[in-house]
Amino acid sequence: MLTAPLIVIASFAYVGLLFAIAYYGDKRADAGRSIIANPYIYALSLAVYCTSWTFYGSVGRAATSGIGFLPIYLGPTLMAALWWYVMLKIIRISKQNRITSIADFIASRYGKSQMLGGLVTIIAVIGIIPYIALQLKAISNTFTIILQYPNLAPAEHVGTPLFLGDNTFYIAMLLAAFTILFGTRHLDATERHEGLVAAVAFESLVKLLAFIAVGLFVTYWLYDGFGDIFDRAAQTAELSALLTFGGEVGNYATFASLTLLSMAAIMFLPRQFQVSVVENVDERHLNKAIWLFPLYLLAINIFVLPIALGGLMHFPSGTVDADTFVLTLPISERVPWLTLFAFVGGLSAATGMVIVETIALSTMVCNDLVMPVALRARSLRLTERRDLSGLLLGIRRGAIVLILMLGYLYFYLAGEAYALVSIGLISFSAVAQFAPAIIAGIFWRGGTRDGAVCGLAAGFLVWTYTLLLPSFAKSGWLPIDYLEQGLFGIDLLRPQQLFGLEGFDAVTHCLFWSMLANIGGYIAVSLAQRPSAAEHGQATVFVDAFRQSGATAGPRLWRGSASVNDLLALLGRFLGPERARETFESYARSRGARSVESLAADASLGHHAESLLAGAIGSASARVMVASVVEEEPLGLDEVMNIIDEASQVLAYSRQLEQKSRELEAASQNLRDANQRLQELDRLKDDFISTVTHELRTPLTSIRAFSEILRDNPRLDDAQRAQFLGTVIKESERLTRLINQVLDLSKIESGNAEWHSSEIDMREVVDDSVSAVSQMFKENGVQLDVRLPQELPSIVADRDRLMQVMLNLLSNAAKFCKRPGGRVSIALARQDGFLRVDVTDNGIGVSESDKEIIFEKFRQVGDTLTNRPQGTGLGLPICRQIINHFGGRLWVQSQPGEGATFSFTLPFNPALPQARAAA
């Protein structure tokens, strides 16, 4: 009744149906009417987690370890409770950065490292191969069994020839063909496969219904409900043991470690990452999936124990492999439709897994392993080829075939030694190695590329040594001595009792050591080094994913310029010219540009091209390729500062505090300085007042003394009377002059003096001052020479003030020149763009030590009664203030005994052209 052709036709028909759904889904997606844009499809697609391991293996596991099958479903249920935060963050990051696989995710997080992407890919491929082998084994076994219908023959595979003589080989190749059809018909930048997701959701429904159908059949057809089965089982000592914790396999450590492993698996299995992250169309779908997916797990697990117990009770002990109960129970009762349904359900679970897993892996192999190497290999001249899209598809198709071949080889070599679940756990342990780099990567800024490489490599090596290689040893392909006596016979190196750690099962043992090496290596190396700028940038993008809007995440870190055509050509080579053109056109539309040509080739277009390319060849390679046509500018200091700011909030905060305390310190230092200056000024003011007081008292003393003498001596002779009165008048004048000059100087010094600047000719000022003093010079018998040039540019200054300076210098000269035979000369000249005035006398001169003192206030020079000058001691200080005010300089040159020359300079009127020429 169930003949081979019928079974084959049913199988093909089923896969054909899946393909039709996928095709329809793709068509609808292209038309913009997605059929997967609802949370139920999303949750069902997540159920790709349930493979033939679940469909057949759980029953097998339950038959040997009772509730030992449960952790594999408890883990995801627990993890789902954290999805609203952890998974949401991963989805957000992946969408913002156009991440297309788990290798891409890790590589991108640690500074877009190609090396890391490659490492993750290798680990994923090697780690997943046992898992694929598991599916092949399940399909192969069940196919062999169902062909015998209605007989029950144990599935014997040992002894069949490799490859062509082996059904499993054909199954593997057929699966490869399906996968190629499903996943690599064309390239898409987002690496999304809407039709595939629809098909996966459908197969999830089919396997659930098939399993429940078998469950109902066993529970209510063979037996009288749950109560009946469990009652009967409890009566057998053997079976009742399965329902309790304890015994060898039921110990808590195993339970806990399997829970942990499956928590990691639901997040980081490449196919789970594919459906939950890459294929996610709307992150709100996650909210429903958080409870829908655990509900699905519950539904598909309700009948595991009844089927396992029913099978154990139904078949004589050991005659039928518990892994096949789901199929063999309907066969034994000769229910053909249910048998076929169960077979299709199992086939569905296996194909779904294989297709999604290999598509995810082939994307990684192509983007993160082959392309980075191929693009670098100059001999391939890939960077010069015009259209690489065909090559990309070829690489992926090759990868799919290769992965299934490897799966088949593993199945052939090691498949027979293990039950389905044990094979699956080997893969789970490998995938768990991604957990530290990802989880720490999205919450901790400190992780570095080298840390991630170290952790992954260490964990992977431990996994290989303690779990993968022993699986070959147990199958006889490696010397068993290695397992029992340790490598080189060293007891401590026994792979499953490493360093003497005993008492754990192989998986727990591996988990312990690999996680110790992985997490330890990751943290130690990360802490030992400072993240580079690229790592810092990516760390910020990942850790702060919730704080960034999608649009700003990328372009901020992308600076450069290229022509639109360069970018288009580059994209065309990888996606095909038509698709590249289409994507640019839709981008142009979204930007409101009229055509592709009118697009600005700015950072945002460059980033767009990079992210499109990232889908095809991975983010690390995409960056390299875009950089090759773009003249990328290095990150500016501003951007680096931004990154540092964002990446180290605490650092910034403490920097602020430091800054504040530095500012405070500076402010108090300023206060101290100001206070000191005030005290200094106060002292100077006291000195000045004291000096002024003294200078005022001196003439006052004479005035008062002579006034009183005149008052008290009315009979003084006329000559003496006239002398005394004359002194009183002179001293009064001196007093007035002194008061005026003190006021004058204080006004200049305080900046309150009034200046009336105008354009003046210095020759006129000299002429005027000469005529003002000519009478005085004549009376003193002093000869005055004036040398004026024919022409002189004008200056801008206060005429009266310059007059004041000239009169002061001339009266000083008259006062100090030789008696008799006094001679004073005035000279005007140009010097270096300045007007220079020299007033020279032939008097006693000024000693070197006095040359600056005479310009200080009240510092007259002269120590005898005879040469004591009649002055206030303020004339020269005032002159110097005036000249300085107009941008000039006043100084004295002298040889003692040979006269002195007082000189000052003034700048020419800057508005005059000849002033500049003179300069």
């Binding site: 001196t698 006052l700 003393t701 005898t864």
Partner: protein
């Protein structure tokens, strides 16, 4: 015998007025215009009294006063300090150095003459 007065002052007009005043009360007088000259004149002229300006060139009135008080032969000379700086600290300093009186400029001629007469009469 007429009393002798040494006028140590560098401001010519003040010197003129002091010379007139000393002549008026019948004293012999001599003038010195700086501190060193004042010390030489004190030794040569042997005055009974000295009108000593504080702000003298070369050696200040304080130094002259201190030197005289430290000299066995000259310590008996009466000293009236004259200064344009009327601060209390300066008055105190002058008296502490052994000046007999301290008169601030500008002075009242009668007060100056009374002080001179009082010191010469003792």
């Amino acid at each position: 015998m007429a009393k002798r007065v040494l006028i140590a002052e560098d401001e010519p007009n003040i010197v003129t007025s002091l010379e007139f005043l000393m002549g008026q009360i019948g004293c012999d007088y001599q003038t010195a215009v700086n501190g060193e000259e004042a010390l030489r004149a004190a030794a040569d002229f042997r005055p009974d009294l000295m009108l000593l300006d504080v702000m003298l060139p070369l050696k200040s009135g304080f130094e002259v006063c201190q030197t005289l008080r430290g000299n066995e032969a000259l310590r008996k000379i009466k000293i009236i300090m004259l200064t344009a700086k009327g601060r209390e600290t300066e008055v105190a300093k002058g008296l502490a150095l052994g000046a007999d009186a301290y008169i601030t400029k500008p002075f009242a001629t009668r007060e100056l003459l009374d002080t001179v007469k009082r010191l010469l009469g003792e």
